[in-house]
Protein backbone atom coordinates (compact mmCIF):
# COMPACT_ATOMS: atom_id res chain seq x y z
CA UNK A 1 0.00 0.00 0.00
CA UNK A 2 2.76 2.37 0.99
CA UNK A 3 4.68 1.50 -2.17
CA UNK A 4 1.61 2.37 -4.29
CA UNK A 5 1.41 5.74 -2.50
CA UNK A 6 5.00 6.49 -3.45
CA UNK A 7 4.48 5.74 -7.13
CA UNK A 8 1.29 7.86 -7.32
CA UNK A 9 2.98 10.74 -5.61
CA UNK A 10 5.97 10.47 -7.90
CA UNK A 11 3.68 11.18 -10.82
CA UNK A 12 2.65 14.44 -9.23
CA UNK A 13 6.10 15.55 -8.26
CA UNK A 14 8.88 14.29 -10.42
CA UNK A 15 11.67 14.10 -7.84
CA UNK A 16 13.49 10.79 -7.77
CA UNK A 17 12.86 8.79 -4.59
CA UNK A 18 16.36 9.37 -3.21
CA UNK A 19 16.07 13.13 -3.78
CA UNK A 20 12.74 13.17 -2.00
CA UNK A 21 14.14 11.16 0.91
CA UNK A 22 17.09 13.51 1.17
CA UNK A 23 14.97 16.67 1.15
CA UNK A 24 12.51 15.30 3.72
CA UNK A 25 15.34 13.85 5.82
CA UNK A 26 17.26 17.14 5.81
CA UNK A 27 14.14 19.11 6.76
CA UNK A 28 13.41 16.73 9.63
CA UNK A 29 17.08 16.89 10.66
CA UNK A 30 16.94 20.69 10.80
CA UNK A 31 13.71 20.71 12.83
CA UNK A 32 14.83 17.96 15.23
CA UNK A 33 18.31 19.43 15.69
CA UNK A 34 17.02 22.96 16.27
CA UNK A 35 14.28 21.98 18.72
CA UNK A 36 16.55 19.36 20.27
CA UNK A 37 19.04 22.09 21.15
CA UNK A 38 16.46 23.59 23.52
CA UNK A 39 15.41 20.16 24.80
CA UNK A 40 19.01 19.39 25.76
CA UNK A 41 19.29 22.70 27.64
CA UNK A 42 16.00 21.97 29.41
CA UNK A 43 17.35 18.53 30.31
CA UNK A 44 14.46 16.98 28.43
CA UNK A 45 16.44 14.81 26.05
CA UNK A 46 15.37 11.54 27.62
CA UNK A 47 11.80 12.79 27.99
CA UNK A 48 11.81 13.32 24.22
CA UNK A 49 13.19 9.85 23.71
CA UNK A 50 10.54 8.22 25.88
CA UNK A 51 7.79 10.35 24.38
CA UNK A 52 8.56 9.04 20.91
CA UNK A 53 7.29 5.63 22.03
CA UNK A 54 3.91 7.15 22.81
CA UNK A 55 3.50 7.56 19.05
CA UNK A 56 3.30 3.83 18.38
CA UNK A 57 -0.43 3.29 19.06
CA UNK A 58 -1.13 6.39 16.96
CA UNK A 59 0.84 4.99 14.04
CA UNK A 60 -1.10 1.72 14.35
CA UNK A 61 -4.44 3.50 14.32
CA UNK A 62 -3.38 5.59 11.31
CA UNK A 63 -2.31 2.45 9.43
CA UNK A 64 -5.66 0.80 10.20
CA UNK A 65 -7.53 3.89 8.96
CA UNK A 66 -5.24 4.30 5.92
CA UNK A 67 -4.13 7.74 7.08
CA UNK A 68 -0.66 9.31 6.93
CA UNK A 69 1.09 7.88 10.04
CA UNK A 70 2.23 11.43 10.97
CA UNK A 71 -1.31 12.35 11.98
CA UNK A 72 -1.80 9.24 14.09
CA UNK A 73 1.58 9.72 15.77
CA UNK A 74 0.99 13.42 16.39
CA UNK A 75 -2.50 12.64 17.75
CA UNK A 76 -1.32 10.24 20.46
CA UNK A 77 1.76 12.37 21.23
CA UNK A 78 -0.47 15.41 21.64
CA UNK A 79 -2.85 13.54 23.95
CA UNK A 80 0.13 12.15 25.87
CA UNK A 81 1.73 15.56 26.27
CA UNK A 82 -1.47 17.29 27.38
CA UNK A 83 -2.02 14.38 29.78
CA UNK A 84 1.45 14.76 31.28
CA UNK A 85 1.16 18.54 31.46
CA UNK A 86 -2.19 18.21 33.24
CA UNK A 87 -1.21 15.34 35.57
CA UNK A 88 2.05 17.04 36.49
CA UNK A 89 0.09 20.01 37.80
CA UNK A 90 -2.59 17.91 39.50
CA UNK A 91 -0.56 15.10 41.06
CA UNK A 92 2.77 16.91 41.66
CA UNK A 93 4.51 13.80 40.32
CA UNK A 94 7.61 14.64 38.30
CA UNK A 95 7.10 14.55 34.53
CA UNK A 96 9.88 11.96 34.33
CA UNK A 97 7.75 9.48 36.29
CA UNK A 98 4.63 10.26 34.28
CA UNK A 99 6.45 9.96 30.96
CA UNK A 100 7.92 6.64 32.13
CA UNK A 101 4.48 5.22 32.91
CA UNK A 102 2.86 6.55 29.75
CA UNK A 103 5.75 5.40 27.58
CA UNK A 104 5.64 1.75 28.64
CA UNK A 105 1.83 1.60 28.50
CA UNK A 106 1.83 3.10 25.01
CA UNK A 107 4.55 0.78 23.78
CA UNK A 108 2.60 -2.23 25.09
CA UNK A 109 -0.65 -1.09 23.46
CA UNK A 110 1.20 -0.14 20.28
CA UNK A 111 2.87 -3.53 19.93
CA UNK A 112 -0.50 -5.26 20.44
CA UNK A 113 -2.43 -3.26 17.87
CA UNK A 114 0.17 -2.51 15.18
CA UNK A 115 -0.23 -4.94 12.26
CA UNK A 116 2.85 -7.16 12.21
CA UNK A 117 4.14 -6.22 8.72
CA UNK A 118 4.24 -2.54 9.73
CA UNK A 119 5.64 -3.06 13.22
CA UNK A 120 9.30 -3.00 12.16
CA UNK A 121 8.74 0.14 10.11
CA UNK A 122 7.02 1.83 13.04
CA UNK A 123 9.76 0.83 15.48
CA UNK A 124 12.75 1.73 13.35
CA UNK A 125 11.35 4.06 10.70
CA UNK A 126 11.59 3.74 6.94
CA UNK A 127 12.12 6.87 4.94
CA UNK A 128 11.91 4.79 1.74
CA UNK A 129 8.16 4.88 2.18
CA UNK A 130 7.48 8.56 1.80
CA UNK A 131 5.57 10.56 -0.76
CA UNK A 132 5.32 14.16 -1.88
CA UNK A 133 2.58 14.73 0.72
CA UNK A 134 5.25 14.06 3.32
CA UNK A 135 7.46 16.70 1.72
CA UNK A 136 4.83 19.44 2.06
CA UNK A 137 3.79 18.25 5.49
CA UNK A 138 7.38 18.20 6.74
CA UNK A 139 8.28 21.58 5.24
CA UNK A 140 5.16 23.19 6.78
CA UNK A 141 5.63 21.56 10.18
CA UNK A 142 9.35 22.44 10.40
CA UNK A 143 8.62 26.04 9.40
CA UNK A 144 5.89 26.32 12.06
CA UNK A 145 8.24 24.81 14.66
CA UNK A 146 11.03 27.29 13.91
CA UNK A 147 8.68 30.30 13.86
CA UNK A 148 6.93 29.35 17.12
CA UNK A 149 10.25 28.57 18.77
CA UNK A 150 11.51 32.05 17.85
CA UNK A 151 8.43 33.44 19.62
CA UNK A 152 8.89 31.49 22.86
CA UNK A 153 12.66 31.04 23.11
CA UNK A 154 13.11 33.91 25.58
CA UNK A 155 10.78 32.26 28.06
CA UNK A 156 12.39 28.87 27.49
CA UNK A 157 15.94 30.14 28.09
CA UNK A 158 15.02 32.36 31.05
CA UNK A 159 13.15 29.47 32.65
CA UNK A 160 16.36 27.44 32.52
CA UNK A 161 18.18 30.23 34.40
CA UNK A 162 15.44 31.03 36.92
CA UNK A 163 11.74 30.31 36.94
CA UNK A 164 11.07 33.12 39.41
CA UNK A 165 12.96 35.60 37.24
CA UNK A 166 10.93 34.50 34.22
CA UNK A 167 7.62 34.79 36.00
CA UNK A 168 8.54 38.14 37.55
CA UNK A 169 8.83 39.46 34.00
CA UNK A 170 5.24 38.50 33.29
CA UNK A 171 6.12 35.51 31.09
CA UNK A 172 3.78 32.55 31.60
CA UNK A 173 6.03 29.56 32.16
CA UNK A 174 3.07 27.17 31.90
CA UNK A 175 1.98 28.43 28.49
CA UNK A 176 5.56 28.51 27.22
CA UNK A 177 6.12 24.92 28.34
CA UNK A 178 2.87 23.74 26.80
CA UNK A 179 3.73 25.30 23.41
CA UNK A 180 7.21 23.82 23.69
CA UNK A 181 5.80 20.34 24.38
CA UNK A 182 3.46 20.62 21.39
CA UNK A 183 6.46 21.50 19.22
CA UNK A 184 8.23 18.44 20.62
CA UNK A 185 5.19 16.36 19.60
CA UNK A 186 5.34 17.77 16.05
CA UNK A 187 9.07 17.13 15.64
CA UNK A 188 8.92 13.65 17.15
CA UNK A 189 5.98 12.72 14.91
CA UNK A 190 7.96 13.92 11.88
CA UNK A 191 11.15 12.16 12.90
CA UNK A 192 9.43 8.80 13.15
CA UNK A 193 9.66 8.58 9.36
CA UNK A 194 13.42 8.63 9.58
CA UNK A 195 14.25 6.81 12.77
CA UNK A 196 11.07 5.12 14.07
CA UNK A 197 9.77 5.14 17.61
CA UNK A 198 12.82 3.43 19.09
CA UNK A 199 15.52 5.62 17.58
CA UNK A 200 13.76 8.99 17.21
CA UNK A 201 15.22 10.30 20.46
CA UNK A 202 18.68 10.30 18.91
CA UNK A 203 17.63 12.83 16.25
CA UNK A 204 16.84 15.43 18.89
CA UNK A 205 19.62 14.59 21.34
CA UNK A 206 22.77 13.85 19.38
CA UNK A 207 23.04 16.81 16.94
CA UNK A 208 22.29 19.19 19.84
CA UNK A 209 24.83 17.52 22.12
CA UNK A 210 27.41 17.74 19.31
CA UNK A 211 26.62 21.44 18.76
CA UNK A 212 26.98 22.12 22.48
CA UNK A 213 30.51 20.73 22.37
CA UNK A 214 31.70 23.47 20.05
CA UNK A 215 29.47 26.49 20.77
CA UNK A 216 29.94 29.41 23.13
CA UNK A 217 26.77 31.28 22.32
CA UNK A 218 23.14 30.41 21.74
CA UNK A 219 23.05 31.58 18.14
CA UNK A 220 25.87 29.26 17.07
CA UNK A 221 24.55 26.44 19.22
CA UNK A 222 21.04 26.37 17.74
CA UNK A 223 22.38 26.96 14.22
CA UNK A 224 24.95 24.15 14.45
CA UNK A 225 22.34 21.82 15.98
CA UNK A 226 20.07 22.40 12.95
CA UNK A 227 22.97 22.00 10.48
CA UNK A 228 24.26 18.87 12.22
CA UNK A 229 20.74 17.40 12.21
CA UNK A 230 20.55 18.00 8.46
CA UNK A 231 24.07 16.63 7.85
CA UNK A 232 23.44 13.47 9.84
CA UNK A 233 20.12 12.82 8.12
CA UNK A 234 21.60 13.35 4.66
CA UNK A 235 24.74 11.28 5.24
CA UNK A 236 22.80 8.48 6.93
CA UNK A 237 20.28 8.28 4.09
CA UNK A 238 23.02 8.33 1.43
CA UNK A 239 25.12 5.64 3.13
CA UNK A 240 22.00 3.50 3.58
CA UNK A 241 21.07 3.94 -0.08
CA UNK A 242 24.46 3.01 -1.51
CA UNK A 243 25.10 0.08 0.82
CA UNK A 244 21.48 -1.17 0.89
CA UNK A 245 21.17 -0.68 4.64
CA UNK A 246 18.19 0.55 6.68
CA UNK A 247 18.32 4.40 6.78
CA UNK A 248 17.13 4.94 10.39
CA UNK A 249 20.05 3.23 12.14
CA UNK A 250 22.51 4.76 9.65
CA UNK A 251 21.28 8.29 10.49
CA UNK A 252 21.76 7.53 14.18
CA UNK A 253 25.26 6.13 13.57
CA UNK A 254 26.20 9.18 11.49
CA UNK A 255 25.05 11.38 14.41
CA UNK A 256 27.17 9.35 16.78
CA UNK A 257 30.26 9.80 14.55
CA UNK A 258 29.66 13.56 14.38
CA UNK A 259 29.31 13.73 18.14
CA UNK A 260 32.69 12.02 18.57
CA UNK A 261 34.35 14.47 16.17
CA UNK A 262 32.96 17.48 18.07
CA UNK A 263 34.01 15.90 21.34
CA UNK A 264 37.59 15.68 20.06
CA UNK A 265 37.41 19.32 18.92
CA UNK A 266 36.16 20.29 22.37
CA UNK A 267 38.98 18.46 24.09
CA UNK A 268 41.52 20.23 21.89
CA UNK A 269 40.20 23.69 22.87
Amino acid sequence: MAARRVSTNMNILTINPLGLQLIVGVLIGIGAGFLGSFMVLKRMSLVGDALSHVALPGIAIAIMLSLNPFFGAFGTLFIGIIGIWFLERKTMLPSETLVGILFTLSLAIGILITPEPELLEALFGDINKIGSTDLFLTAGAVLITIILMQKIYKGVILDIISRDLTRSMGISVNTTNLIFLILVAIVVALGLKVAGTLLMGSLVIIPAAAAKNISINLKDYTLYAGIFGALCAASGILIAYYFSLPPGPMVVLASGALFLITLLLKEKK
Binding site: I157, I161, S162, D164, L165, S168, K212, S215, N217
Partner: protein
Protein backbone atom coordinates in the same frame (compact mmCIF):
# COMPACT_ATOMS: atom_id res chain seq x y z
CA UNK B 1 11.72 62.64 54.81
CA UNK B 2 9.95 60.34 52.33
CA UNK B 3 6.58 61.26 50.97
CA UNK B 4 5.22 58.77 48.53
CA UNK B 5 4.40 55.22 49.52
CA UNK B 6 5.25 52.66 46.86
CA UNK B 7 4.32 49.51 48.74
CA UNK B 8 2.01 48.63 51.58
CA UNK B 9 1.99 45.14 53.04
CA UNK B 10 -0.66 44.26 55.55
CA UNK B 11 -0.99 41.05 57.50
CA UNK B 12 0.80 39.00 54.89
CA UNK B 13 0.93 35.26 55.50
CA UNK B 14 2.24 32.42 53.38
CA UNK B 15 1.82 28.74 54.07
CA UNK B 16 3.06 25.65 52.28
CA UNK B 17 1.30 22.35 53.00
CA UNK B 18 -0.65 23.95 55.85
CA UNK B 19 2.57 25.07 57.56
CA UNK B 20 3.09 28.75 58.13
CA UNK B 21 6.20 29.96 56.40
CA UNK B 22 5.40 33.61 57.05
CA UNK B 23 2.72 35.25 59.15
CA UNK B 24 1.66 38.69 60.39
CA UNK B 25 3.99 40.63 58.14
CA UNK B 26 3.04 44.30 57.82
CA UNK B 27 5.20 47.17 56.62
CA UNK B 28 5.32 49.89 54.05
CA UNK B 29 8.02 51.22 51.77
CA UNK B 30 8.41 54.78 50.59
CA UNK B 31 9.81 56.10 47.37
CA UNK B 32 13.61 56.27 47.33
CA UNK B 33 13.93 54.11 50.42
CA UNK B 34 16.50 51.34 50.78
CA UNK B 35 14.83 48.63 52.83
CA UNK B 36 16.89 45.68 54.01
CA UNK B 37 15.31 42.38 54.96
CA UNK B 38 17.32 40.30 57.40
CA UNK B 39 16.81 37.00 59.11
CA UNK B 40 18.45 33.61 59.52
CA UNK B 41 18.51 30.98 56.80
CA UNK B 42 15.05 29.54 56.23
CA UNK B 43 13.34 32.49 57.92
CA UNK B 44 11.19 33.26 54.88
CA UNK B 45 13.08 36.21 53.35
CA UNK B 46 13.03 34.87 49.80
CA UNK B 47 9.45 33.69 50.30
CA UNK B 48 8.54 37.27 51.23
CA UNK B 49 10.00 38.55 47.94
CA UNK B 50 8.16 35.90 45.97
CA UNK B 51 4.91 36.85 47.68
CA UNK B 52 5.53 40.56 47.02
CA UNK B 53 5.94 39.73 43.34
CA UNK B 54 2.81 37.59 43.28
CA UNK B 55 4.76 34.47 42.35
CA UNK B 56 3.23 32.38 45.14
CA UNK B 57 -0.19 32.35 46.81
CA UNK B 58 -0.52 34.37 50.01
CA UNK B 59 -3.15 35.81 52.30
CA UNK B 60 -3.27 39.44 53.42
CA UNK B 61 -2.61 42.49 51.29
CA UNK B 62 0.30 43.45 49.07
CA UNK B 63 -0.44 46.81 47.45
CA UNK B 64 2.09 48.30 45.03
CA UNK B 65 1.63 51.79 43.64
CA UNK B 66 0.24 51.83 40.14
CA UNK B 67 2.51 52.18 37.10
CA UNK B 68 5.60 50.95 38.84
CA UNK B 69 8.27 49.03 37.00
CA UNK B 70 9.73 46.42 39.29
CA UNK B 71 12.95 44.56 38.58
CA UNK B 72 13.74 41.43 40.53
CA UNK B 73 16.99 39.52 40.77
CA UNK B 74 16.63 36.18 42.57
CA UNK B 75 19.40 34.72 44.69
CA UNK B 76 19.72 31.47 42.85
CA UNK B 77 20.42 31.50 39.16
CA UNK B 78 20.99 28.19 37.48
CA UNK B 79 23.78 29.12 35.08
CA UNK B 80 25.94 26.13 34.33
CA UNK B 81 29.45 26.66 33.01
CA UNK B 82 28.65 25.01 29.72
CA UNK B 83 25.38 26.87 29.07
CA UNK B 84 25.86 28.18 25.53
CA UNK B 85 24.62 31.71 26.19
CA UNK B 86 26.82 34.79 26.09
CA UNK B 87 26.37 38.02 28.03
CA UNK B 88 24.91 39.89 25.07
CA UNK B 89 22.37 37.16 24.35
CA UNK B 90 21.38 37.05 28.00
CA UNK B 91 20.83 40.80 28.25
CA UNK B 92 19.03 40.74 24.89
CA UNK B 93 16.42 38.44 26.46
CA UNK B 94 15.22 41.62 28.18
CA UNK B 95 16.32 44.43 25.88
CA UNK B 96 16.87 44.10 22.15
CA UNK B 97 18.54 47.51 21.70
CA UNK B 98 22.32 46.96 21.78
CA UNK B 99 23.05 50.59 22.63
CA UNK B 100 20.87 50.38 25.70
CA UNK B 101 22.62 47.19 26.75
CA UNK B 102 26.03 48.87 26.48
CA UNK B 103 24.67 51.90 28.33
CA UNK B 104 23.46 49.70 31.19
CA UNK B 105 26.87 48.01 31.43
CA UNK B 106 28.57 51.41 31.61
CA UNK B 107 26.20 52.45 34.40
CA UNK B 108 27.28 49.49 36.51
CA UNK B 109 30.89 50.54 36.27
CA UNK B 110 32.05 48.65 33.19
CA UNK B 111 33.19 51.74 31.39
CA UNK B 112 35.67 50.53 28.80
CA UNK B 113 33.56 50.27 25.66
CA UNK B 114 36.24 48.33 23.79
CA UNK B 115 36.30 45.74 26.58
CA UNK B 116 32.51 45.56 26.65
CA UNK B 117 32.16 45.11 22.89
CA UNK B 118 35.11 42.83 22.22
CA UNK B 119 35.23 40.74 25.36
CA UNK B 120 32.44 41.03 27.90
CA UNK B 121 29.43 40.79 25.56
CA UNK B 122 30.95 37.72 23.89
CA UNK B 123 31.79 36.01 27.16
CA UNK B 124 29.83 32.92 28.16
CA UNK B 125 27.57 33.74 31.10
CA UNK B 126 28.73 30.64 32.97
CA UNK B 127 32.36 31.74 32.76
CA UNK B 128 31.89 35.01 34.63
CA UNK B 129 33.20 35.44 38.17
CA UNK B 130 30.69 36.00 40.99
CA UNK B 131 31.38 39.74 41.00
CA UNK B 132 31.12 40.08 37.23
CA UNK B 133 27.85 38.16 37.19
CA UNK B 134 26.37 40.39 39.89
CA UNK B 135 27.27 43.48 37.88
CA UNK B 136 25.64 41.93 34.84
CA UNK B 137 22.56 41.17 36.94
CA UNK B 138 22.43 44.76 38.18
CA UNK B 139 22.75 45.94 34.56
CA UNK B 140 19.97 43.48 33.68
CA UNK B 141 17.76 44.91 36.40
CA UNK B 142 18.29 48.46 35.09
CA UNK B 143 17.53 47.67 31.45
CA UNK B 144 13.88 48.62 31.49
CA UNK B 145 14.29 51.73 33.66
CA UNK B 146 12.63 50.33 36.77
CA UNK B 147 11.39 52.35 39.76
CA UNK B 148 11.85 49.53 42.22
CA UNK B 149 14.65 46.96 42.55
CA UNK B 150 14.25 43.73 44.49
CA UNK B 151 17.58 42.02 45.13
CA UNK B 152 17.81 38.70 46.91
CA UNK B 153 21.31 38.46 48.45
CA UNK B 154 23.02 40.61 45.83
CA UNK B 155 26.47 39.56 47.01
CA UNK B 156 26.10 35.81 47.36
CA UNK B 157 29.09 34.17 45.73
CA UNK B 158 31.25 37.29 45.95
CA UNK B 159 34.32 37.62 48.13
CA UNK B 160 34.23 40.03 51.04
CA UNK B 161 36.14 42.79 49.25
CA UNK B 162 33.72 42.69 46.36
CA UNK B 163 30.59 42.94 48.51
CA UNK B 164 31.12 46.57 49.46
CA UNK B 165 31.67 47.50 45.82
CA UNK B 166 28.35 46.00 44.79
CA UNK B 167 26.48 47.70 47.63
CA UNK B 168 28.20 51.03 46.90
CA UNK B 169 27.07 50.67 43.32
CA UNK B 170 23.49 49.85 44.31
CA UNK B 171 23.40 52.77 46.74
CA UNK B 172 24.82 55.16 44.13
CA UNK B 173 22.33 54.00 41.50
CA UNK B 174 19.50 54.29 43.99
CA UNK B 175 20.45 57.87 44.81
CA UNK B 176 21.02 58.91 41.20
CA UNK B 177 17.81 57.44 39.87
CA UNK B 178 15.61 57.81 42.91
CA UNK B 179 15.10 54.08 42.97
CA UNK B 180 13.35 52.26 45.73
CA UNK B 181 15.48 49.26 46.69
CA UNK B 182 14.44 46.21 48.67
CA UNK B 183 17.30 43.90 49.41
CA UNK B 184 17.74 40.71 51.33
CA UNK B 185 21.05 40.55 53.15
CA UNK B 186 22.64 38.35 55.74
CA UNK B 187 25.28 40.93 56.58
CA UNK B 188 24.26 43.35 59.33
CA UNK B 189 27.23 45.65 58.63
CA UNK B 190 25.86 46.18 55.14
CA UNK B 191 22.42 46.86 56.57
CA UNK B 192 23.76 49.51 58.98
CA UNK B 193 25.74 51.15 56.22
CA UNK B 194 23.34 51.21 53.32
CA UNK B 195 19.73 50.72 54.43
CA UNK B 196 17.36 53.45 55.60
CA UNK B 197 15.10 50.87 57.13
CA UNK B 198 15.25 47.24 58.04
CA UNK B 199 12.72 44.54 58.70
CA UNK B 200 13.85 41.45 60.53
CA UNK B 201 11.85 38.31 60.04
CA UNK B 202 11.97 34.82 61.34
CA UNK B 203 8.72 33.43 59.97
CA UNK B 204 7.11 36.46 61.60
CA UNK B 205 8.03 40.07 61.97
CA UNK B 206 10.64 40.58 64.72
CA UNK B 207 11.50 44.23 64.12
CA UNK B 208 10.95 47.08 61.70
CA UNK B 209 12.55 50.49 61.64
CA UNK B 210 15.85 52.35 61.34
CA UNK B 211 18.69 49.78 61.64
CA UNK B 212 20.61 51.56 64.42
CA UNK B 213 17.44 51.83 66.48
CA UNK B 214 15.74 48.49 66.05
CA UNK B 215 18.62 46.04 65.70
CA UNK B 216 19.20 45.90 69.44
CA UNK B 217 20.54 42.84 71.27
CA UNK B 218 17.05 41.78 72.27
CA UNK B 219 15.77 41.81 68.70
CA UNK B 220 18.89 40.03 67.48
CA UNK B 221 18.52 37.35 70.13
CA UNK B 222 14.93 36.81 69.02
CA UNK B 223 15.99 36.78 65.42
CA UNK B 224 18.96 34.46 65.51
CA UNK B 225 18.84 32.75 68.89
CA UNK B 226 16.07 31.37 71.08
CA UNK B 227 14.44 28.13 70.23
CA UNK B 228 15.26 28.13 66.56
CA UNK B 229 17.84 25.79 65.22
CA UNK B 230 19.16 28.34 62.74
CA UNK B 231 22.72 29.52 62.85
CA UNK B 232 23.98 33.05 62.92
CA UNK B 233 25.83 33.87 59.79
CA UNK B 234 29.52 34.31 60.40
CA UNK B 235 29.54 37.93 59.20
CA UNK B 236 27.09 38.87 61.88
CA UNK B 237 29.70 39.23 64.62
CA UNK B 238 31.88 41.75 62.82
Amino acid sequence: MYMEKVLSVDNLAVSFDNQNVLKDISFSVEKGEVLAIVGPNGSGKSVLFRALLGLIPYSGTVAWNKNLKISYVPQKLSIERDLPLNVEEFLALKESNRERIIQALKIVGLEDEHHIEKHLLRQRLGWLSGGQLQRIMIAWSLLDDPNVLLFDEPTSGIDLGGEGTIYNLLKKLGDQRNLTILLISHDLNIVYKYANNVICINKEMICHGIPSEVLDPKALARLYGGETSFYKHEHFDH
